[in-house]
């Protein structure tokens, strides 16, 4: 499956010049730094760096962008763990166990876990891509609107079931999120839920809404405390404990591997990177013998979310390189970089420039090690956040988030969205609704609506159409199983006279 001649040519390309490697560390650092500011996104950072692209040769430009992407995919985990602030949807799953670990004074270990899981996840994804670029592309081309629709519904249902004790509240939060995601102009130009405000015609700004729902809401809960970690002796930033966290990730190879494979698979889909971490978290929790530990600071939660998040990059790159289709904002900007060099992604690119494709994959594998080193140094510095008094930290993070959301939206819609959703998020937390379900609904609202509409048009309204889509049927089956399994387990245990342990999903 590997084109050995192209692979040899790729090795020659990378080994014959130091220039492609010059951009790796700056790229990773930009990715890490951007995501330390709530409200800034990978696609924004990539877009800002676009003017540099014409000055680089094509391979160097691709390596620069993948390095930024790799740095950003891990970077989102840092505020997610230390502040419960997921810089983007791809780090939502990391907050579930990351922040509880930080509050217990295990921030060093949590950051180490996230770094190791991120590096290993990326490595597995790129190894998969190296060995199976062709089959992955062939698989990706079979995925259409019905499959996307099923994945969206699966994601929302899982998260609704997973995080809250009340399934109805979870589903209601998911439906609420889906509706929020469709605010704005419809495909035919009909305004919906805009209150006649022009700024809302493009919809609710997603990143400020996420930052508001998660970050600001959580920060409000911290205002009465002195530090994130109450115990003075646990506030140390300790390299040996970061390393211990990294080693701990290796003690859960099954969780790592499952997360990486799931992330690579889901990453192929448009918007897949946003839900890969949540699906992986949910799967890890479902498969665990002690699921009640998840959400309380369980290392497996971080590993599952981070490995899937990092590996989704491999899936996204497969779709971009093999089909020329971006699966998200970051890969869309990369596609612009392609056009700056008069290159179009897709099957012809894979055929005619196989050496460049392999060179990008090989350099990304090498980036994993560089990310390990640069990321370690970065989190050593970032870990000092726990030593800052919350009465300084909370205002600074909130101010940064507001300015970031203005910079992103370039108008008042960003900051106002953040403030409104901060209050909604705090109330949702207070009344035990899973905020993540609303976030996922908000993210996938447009995508789900488009997928549902195209599925309806393809099927002509015939439900039997789904029978011709085995992948969609499989995902539907998994969706039903994931909803029913806890009930079936409980019923089985009841029949067997062995009452199940406490399950927070009920």
């Amino acid at each position: 499956m590997i084109d050995m001649a192209a692979l040899a040519s790729a090795v020659h390309l990378l080994a014959s010049s130091w220039q492609p490697w010059m951009v790796v560390i700056p790229g990773i650092l930009i990715g890490l730094l951007v995501h330390s500011v709530p409200g800034l996104t990978t696609s924004m950072a990539l877009a800002i760096c676009l003017p540099l692209i014409p000055y680089m040769d094509f391979l160097q430009a691709l390596i620069f962008m993948t390095a930024m992407y790799a740095g950003a995919l891990f970077g989102v985990a840092i505020p997610a763990i230390l502040l419960n602030v997921p810089g983007s949807a791809s780090a939502v799953g990391t907050t579930f166990d990351g922040f509880p670990m930080a509050q217990q004074g295990k921030h060093n270990e949590a950051l180490g876990l996230a770094l190791a899981a991120s590096c290993i996840g990326q490595a597995i994804a790129y190894l998969l891509l190296l060995c199976m670029a062709g089959p992955i592309a062939a698989f990706a081309i079979k995925l259409g609107p019905p499959e996307m629709l099923m994945v969206s519904l699966w994601g929302i249902t899982l998260i609704a079931r997973m995080r809250g004790r009340h399934f109805a509240r979870g589903l209601m939060a998911g439906a609420f999120g889906l509706l929020l995601g469709t605010v704005g102009l419809s495909a035919r130009g009909a305004p919906r839920g805009t209150f006649d405000i022009d700024l809302l015609l493009d919809g609710i700004p997603v990143v400020p809404a996420i930052v508001g729902l998660f970050a600001a809401a959580e920060l409000f809960n911290l205002v009465g405390r002195d530090y994130i970690v109450d115990d003075l002796t646990r506030r140390r930033v300790d390299a040996s404990r970061i390393l211990a966290g990294m080693r701990d990730a290796l003690r859960h190879p099954g969780v790592l591997l499952r997360g990486a494979i799931l992330g690579s698979g889901i990453g192929i889909l448009p918007g897949g990177h946003a839900i890969a971490n949540l699906l992986s978290y949910s799967e890890a929790r479902r498969a665990a013998r002690d699921p009640e530990k998840f959400g309380t600071g369980d290392p497996r939660g971080i590993i599952a979310a981070e490995s899937a998040n990092a590996s989704s990059e491999g899936g996204s790159m497969a779709t971009l390189l093999a089909l020329g289709i971006p699966t998200g904002g970051a890969t869309a900007v990369m596609l612009v970089a392609f056009s700056m060099h008069n290159i179009t992604g897709g099957p012809a690119f894979m055929r005619d420039h196989a050496d460049i494709v392999y060179a990008v994959i090989l350099s990304s594998l090498a980036q994993v090690f560089i990310l390990g080193l640069v990321g370690f140094a970065f989190i050593f510095v970032a870990g000092f956040v726990v030593k800052v008094r919350l009465r300084m930290l909370v205002p600074m993070v909130l101010a940064m988030a507001v300015i970031g959301s203005f910079a992103l939206a370039q108008n008042l819609a960003g900051p106002i969205t953040l403030a409104v959703f901060a209050v909604i998020g705090w109330l949702m937390q207070r009344f035990d609704y899973p905020v993540a379900a609303t976030v996922i609904g908000l993210l996938l609202g447009r995508l789900t609506e488009g997928a549902l509409l195209r599925t309806y048009q393809m099927s002509g309204g015939e439900i039997g159409f789904l029978l011709t889509r085995p992948i969609a049927l499989t995902i539907l089956f998994l969706l039903i199983v994931s909803i029913m399994l806890p009930y079936l387990r409980s019923a089985y245990a009841h029949v067997a006279g062995n009452p199940p342990g406490k399950d927070i999903s009920k």
């Binding site: 500011v37 009340h166 509706l179 419809s186 009909a190 205002p395 101010a399 507001v402």
Partner: protein
């Protein structure tokens, strides 16, 4: 501020109602219903309502279950058990104050410029949360403003409305 659960008597049964949660769920369901109506009035074709109608109807049905869960039967003279951690008056005031200051900053930032608004917001928020050292109250906002403005305007080339420096809010 403990979780409010007034008790009502219906045909001899004592029922505690989780009013704050009921109000929140009703607001969410009300918005969903309003959104469905707004979308329907905007365009009542399949393309417009294919997701909105089922999602809104699902949300309203689910609200029925959630609302039902807000009513708890209380036996005897026992007080209903608290449903969530109570908020002390001090914490409730701090949270409400933090929300109010954030709202003020959001409105003031684009109007008077993020440089001066950030400084005032950080100063006010730190003071409100208990910081009393005047040097810290002045230096932290100042350093933050310089760093944030440099980061956004110089490195990211993102035009921010500013009061003192070059910008579009003068």
């Amino acid at each position: 501020m403990a979780a409010t659960q007034p008790i009502f008597e219906f045909s001899g049964r004592r029922i505690a109602i989780d009013l704050p949660h009921l109000a929140f769920a009703t607001t969410i369901a009300g918005w969903c219903a309003w959104f469905l109506r707004d979308a329907w009035l905007s365009a009542s074709d399949v393309e417009n309502l294919i997701l909105i109608a089922p999602a809104a109807i699902a949300a309203i049905i689910l609200y029925g279950f959630v609302a039902a869960g807000c009513f708890h039967r209380v036996t005897g003279d026992a007080k209903p058990a608290p449903l969530r951690a109570p908020l002390t008056a001090g914490i409730a005031i701090k949270i409400a104050g933090a929300m109010g200051l954030l709202a003020g900053f959001v409105v003031a930032g684009p109007l008077i410029g993020f440089d001066i608004a950030s400084f005032v917001y950080l100063f006010a928020m730190m003071f409100f949360l208990g910081e009393r050292r005047i040097l810290v109250l002045l230096l932290v906002p100042l350093i933050f403003c310089i760093a944030a403005i440099y980061c956004f305007n110089a490195i990211l080339s993102t035009p921010l409305p500013l009061f003192f420096f070059s910008g579009d809010a003068s």
